[in-house]
């Protein structure tokens, strides 16, 4: 089912300019917000050489590189990458393992980065690798996906990486995202419905029981830090100085925004009150500065992007392309949903960045590669079929 288009046939193919435009817009918007959020702190911190544009410059460099790579990838037939599926998996495992080596880098107390000249977060690479690996695996299994064995193989194949990301880099949220991507891809590939609802229901019930159990334990000494986080989630004002601190600061920022916000650059919470203001918490700053209107606009942009992904996936020339797009869709959707859920204290606090907007070079670079893949799949759509 390979599709090899010759050069001249490209003219008749589809290119999703609207998606490209929205991505550009989000990247540009993200850069503005990163500058707005980080400039004050960056100017007074020696970590950023007292340069207010420190984070902006680093992110802009990564974004420009990302755009170039995206355009290149979008011009390459996506089937080209199929052969790298296993290598990608293995490389991810090695890179995550390397975090333990002297190449590993610690930032803000978390050892999640590799120093390869520039700092690289292996978990971000693993997300892309997992999308490619699972798409390839599912296509190779053909009807095998319908068997129980196939189902569990797909479901469990990301487990090693998830466990490594969780245990080695102590990054549960990335592990959950990688696993979530796998579940979503499996959901699309498998004819099953019931098992997914059962799984979903099971996870929800388990979470409920855990939360209930934690609230019943009266002694704080018995609680680990994740349990304390859950208590802080239920009532952030019970521990405003420690576990509930970031959440509360985030809520202060969001609440102060009101309908129209304080205006671009006018955030108070970014002045050192809200930790990770240019990173995981950037959505709070958007809310504070641009208000409900700005927040709704950003969310709408993501909804449209997801919709574009769906259109491309549904019209993909083959299952491999469709699954690649579904993987990317899952990745972005999960991160956006979890990020907004965290900053609004809808779920317990955990570090998840907002795609395209949050500060993070590796993240934006690999997201752009993913978009490149999606655009490449989009090219495979013959216009007349639309």
């Amino acid at each position: 089912m390979k599709l090899n288009l010759k050069r001249r046939e490209y003219a008749n193919t589809y290119f999703d300019y609207s998606l490209l435009f929205m991505i550009f817009f989000l990247i540009g918007f993200g850069l503005i917000m990163i500058y707005s959020a980080s400039a004050y702190d960056a100017a007074i911190s020696s970590n950023s050489n007292n340069d207010p544009a420190f984070y902006l410059k680093k992110q802009a460099a990564a974004a420009i590189l990302g755009i170039v790579v995206m355009l290149v990838v979008s011009r390459i037939d996506y089937h080209f990458w199929e052969r790298f599926a296993v290598i990608g998996y293995v490389v991810s495992v090695i890179l995550i393992g390397l975090v333990l080596s002297p190449l590993g880098m610690e930032i803000n107390g978390a050892r999640r980065w590799l120093n390869l000249g520039i700092s690289v977060q292996p978990a971000e690479i693993a997300k892309l690798a997992m999308v490619l690996f699972l798409a390839t695996l599912i296509c190779h299994m053909k009807k095998g996906i319908r068997t129980k064995k196939g189902f569990w193989l797909v479901l469990l194949s990301p487990a090693p990486i998830c466990v490594m990301v969780w245990k080695i880099t102590n990054n549960l949220s990335s592990a959950i995202i990688i696993f979530g991507i796998a579940v979503l891809m499996l959901f699309v590939a498998s004819p099953e419905y019931k098992i997914f609802f059962l799984m979903g229901g099971g996870v929800a019930a388990l979470a409920g029981i855990v939360v209930l159990a934690i609230t019943k334990i009266d002694s704080l000494a018995k609680l680990g830090f994740r349990s304390a986080r859950i208590l802080a989630w239920l009532n952030p004002e019970s521990d405003p100085a420690n576990k509930g601190f970031q959440t509360l600061q985030s809520l202060y920022a969001i609440g102060s925004g009101g309908i129209f916000g304080k205006g671009l650059g006018q955030s108070m919470q970014k002045l050192g009150f809200l930790p990770e203001e240019q990173n995981d918490m950037i959505f709070s700053i958007i809310c504070e500065e641009l208000g409900l209107v700005g927040a709704a606009f950003v969310m709408l942009m993501f909804i449209i992007i997801l919709w574009r992904f769906m259109v491309i996936a549904n019209n993909a020339p083959d299952l491999f392309g469709a699954l690649l797009v579904v993987g990317v869709l899952g990745h972005i959707a999960i991160q956006v949903i979890l990020n907004i859920a965290v900053v609004t204290n809808t779920i317990p606090n955990t570090g998840i960045s907002l795609p395209f907007i949050s500060y993070g070079g590796t993240s934006v670079l690999f997201l752009m590669i993913e978009i490149g893949l999606v655009l490449s799949v989009g090219r495979g759509i013959k216009l007349r079929r639309l």
Partner: protein
């Protein structure tokens, strides 16, 4: 070739679920940003705003004629703001030069990474202005106030002083703190998380309300002159302490309250050299505090003493009021009197012989007063003691008034009654004695002695009111007492207090300091003028005079000198009109 429909359905479903989740979150965002907006933005504002109190200007303390006894000086606090300093070397050299601080010390402050670092407080205004005029960025000059007492030691134990937060510590400063203090203002500034103030956000302030000026009953001239007399007496008699109380017997206003040695209100924590030497170079905190408390102690109010013969005024008044003695009654003094199994001596060993009651007062004859006491009996005597309010505190508007130390009624036998009758074996404060005698000679009005006169309200003095209990004594007896005491000065033991051109009444006293036989005495004289409707009363107490220690010779001349000067002055001032 298109992918199978089953995939498309699933992809569609998946996308819908994701979009649905985003919509749910959108509702959550709307809830936070619309419904909870006020709550969270209020909380955030609390977090961003810092409150800085603005000191209120403390009210001044003035004498009754408007002479300022306690004032405020503008002083500056010099601080540096680390991240606003652009030329650190210039800042360091300027501050060390102007503030006369070692370069290293200033450098430490300037180079410390903190939001704001205080370099020096209590800097005189002109230096603060010079520093401000330099225009170097990063230096903050905050103006504040410092208490300043223009006359240093004058009335120190009455005025008191203020502490680091500008709060009263002793004296009128603490008693009238609520009037003097005012209400501090608040400056709300917006700061970042490190506490650095943000200039663009402006600041709102609640202005401080200055404290009210306190007018006192003191008269600067009388206080000044009484202080001089006390100092002279202390020097010439090599006394330990000299206290002089001058008051208006009609209404309890205190014109002067002197207790030398005084201390410097501008340096209340500096002990005199002699005291410092006696407690050593590095005294313990406790011994230093004790020494300070002793220095601040106002003997007129905070300490009791055995009044001695001046108390015979009370015994006489009680006897006359009760009718157990008449002015013309005759007594015989052989130089002693037997009470129970004891022989109590008169100060004149050979005795006063036959004398009338009036002469007994002039002679300050102990057996006469013991006899009067015996005629009253314990019950009656005790009733008068209480009726004259000797057992209560006077209620003077100064902190730390000492209580009367008196026998319990049940414990009062004939000997106790006899000794109390001539002013021994119990203790009262000088202010209690002066106040009680005032009520005896003013027609029976018991006033609360006081120093607070009032505050200005719309340019007019609004006087404080103090309770006054009248008729604790009949006007007739009061009048009679005035006459009898005038005779004491005219022809009795108080002759040294006689002032040409004025009628003066009074009573001397010489009491032993406890323990008896220590050879230490307290000489005192209580005088008033004129006899009719007395306008001023003075009580002079000399503690531990060397050499001659009789009240008639040590204390009476002090009151005479005082009266010679202040009586004409008071005639001019007309304080009772």
């Amino acid at each position: 070739m298109k992918i199978q429909t089953v995939y498309r359905k699933k992809i569609f479903l998946l996308t819908l679920v994701c979009i649905f989740a985003l919509l749910v979150l959108w509702i959550r965002v709307v809830y936070l940003m619309v419904w909870k907006s006020q709550y969270y933005s209020g909380k955030a504002e609390d977090l961003h705003q810092r409150e800085r109190t603005i000191a209120a200007k403390r009210g001044r303390i003035l004498d009754r004629n408007g002479v300022v006894l306690a004032d405020n000086q503008t002083v500056c606090t010099i601080s540096v703001i680390h991240n606003q300093i652009k030329e650190p070397e210039k800042v360091i050299s300027l501050l060390s030069k102007e503030l006369q601080l070692p370069i290293d010390q200033v450098r430490k402050r300037v180079e410390k990474v903190s939001s704001i670092e205080k370099v020096k407080g209590n800097v005189p205004e002109e230096i603060g202005k010079r520093i401000k005029a330099s225009g170097l960025s990063g230096i903050k000059v905050d103006e504040g106030y410092k208490r300043y007492y223009p006359y240093g030691e004058l009335a120190s134990k009455v005025l008191g002083f203020t502490g680091g937060d500008y709060q009263g510590i002793i004296g009128l400063e603490v008693k009238y703190d609520s009037i003097l203090a005012g209400t501090p203002g608040v400056l709300y500034t917006t700061t970042d998380a490190r506490g650095v103030e943000l200039e663009n956000y402006g600041e709102s302030r609640k202005e401080p309300v200055s404290g009210q000026d306190l007018y006192t009953t003191l008269d600067y001239n009388i206080q000044m002159y009484a202080t001089q007399l006390a100092k002279q007496a202390m020097e010439s008699k090599q006394a330990a302490q000299v206290a002089i109380l001058v008051m208006n017997p009609q209404n309890g206003e205190i014109y002067a309250c002197v207790d030398v040695p005084e201390f410097d209100c501008n340096a209340p924590f500096t002990l005199p050299e002699s005291v410092q030497a006696s407690i050593g170079e590095n005294p313990s905190e406790k011994s230093r505090q004790n020494a300070l408390n002793a220095m601040w102690r106002n003997h007129c109010i905070n300490d009791t003493y055995e009044p001695g013969s001046t108390f015979k005024i009370i015994t006489a008044a009680a006897g006359l009021e009760e009718g157990v003695v008449q002015v013309s009654d005759t007594f015989s003094c052989p130089g002693f009197i037997i009470v129970g199994d004891r022989k109590i001596r008169c100060h004149k060993i050979q005795g006063h012989g036959i004398e009338t009651f009036a002469q007994g007062i002039q002679n300050s004859c102990n057996p006469v007063f013991i006899t009067v006491g015996q005629r009253l009996g314990v019950d009656k005597y005790y009733t008068y003691f209480e009726k004259y309010r000797l057992k209560e505190k006077t209620g003077i508007d100064l902190p730390g008034e000492a209580s009367t130390i008196m026998h319990k009624k049940e414990a009062m036998g004939p000997v106790e009654l006899a000794t109390v009758s001539f002013g021994q074996s119990f203790q009262i404060t000088p202010i209690q004695l002066a106040t009680t005698v005032s009520s005896i000679i003013n027609g029976g009005k018991r006033n609360v002695p006081h120093l607070g006169l009032g505050v200005l309200e719309e340019e007019k003095l609004k006087r404080f009111s103090f309770p006054c209990k009248s008729n604790i004594l009949s006007p007739e007896v009061s009048h009679l007492m005035g006459e009898l005491l005038t005779q004491v000065v005219e022809q009795g033991g108080g002759i040294n207090a006689k002032v040409e051109g004025y009628t003066v009444g009074g009573k001397t006293a010489t009491s032993q300091m406890l323990p008896r036989g220590s050879g230490k005495y307290i000489s005192s004289f209580l005088g008033f003028s004129p006899t009719e409707n007395p306008q001023v009363m003075a009580l002079a107490i000399v503690y531990e005079p060397k050499g001659i220690y009789y009240g008639s010779q040590v204390a009476a001349p002090i009151v005479r000198q005082l009266f010679e000067n202040i009586l004409p002055y008071l005639d001019r001032m007309c304080y009772n009109k």
